[in-house]
Symmetry: C2
Amino acid sequence: MLATGVLEAIAEPNRRQILDAVRVRERSVSELVDQLEMSQPGVSRHLRVLRDAGLVAVRSDAQRRLYRIRSEPLRDLDEWLEPYRAEWSDRLDALGRHLERSRPEQLSEETS
Amino acid sequence: MLATGVLEAIAEPNRRQILDAVRVRERSVSELVDQLEMSQPGVSRHLRVLRDAGLVAVRSDAQRRLYRIRSEPLRDLDEWLEPYRAEWSDRLDALGRHLERSRPEQLSEETS
DNA sequence: CGCATATATAAGCACAAGCACATATAAGGC
DNA sequence: GCCTTATATGTGCTTGTGCTTATATATGCG
């Protein structure tokens, strides 16, 4: 089930940046501080929100805390979107739409 | 591109209820008031947020305003999710995962 | 143990969000 | 034109969020 906390968490642009970073690979807090050009307490607070929403997990490596993505809540969001997908799939079947989503740069739309 | 306003809009539970309602069919403000058990100004304010985020559109019918869904912003959200989908698709290819998403009730999970 | 590094939390402030209540605008019917 | 119905907007209040600075906790090293 989709929790409100997940949406509140990803509604914040800095937190989306953090998610984008930890999706690629594990990141320490200081790596995120450098990358986001934000104060360390600021990053830690955002990480707290993401952790509470279940969007990241942590492991310890000496003094460092390494954060990684947890995709389950995003999967819930994906499922929440399902009934709305019919709105833009409409007369296209969902399979075709999915394939189009997988290759977005296939068609040029600047000719019209 | 995914606008922050879209996520802020759908982060509010009452607004998700409104979206769920207008997705099925057009709704007047008073219909939404009845359904959500919320004050009329409250509903209008939420509709304003949804409209600003591009998530609903309005048309006039006499004094009534009929709101309907606009799925484009949700499609942007769907696209934002795309790179994360790899996290839960992982060794399943995206096509298979999509088909599973389309028939979620296929398997019983209560036997374990 | 004492210091350095890495991270988390606390306190104070500015600002935005949601709500309730009141009021303004708009359209229809007489 | 006036009254009713339908919807939008303004105001004041309370609460929550993010940011900054300072401090606390935790681990490693000598």
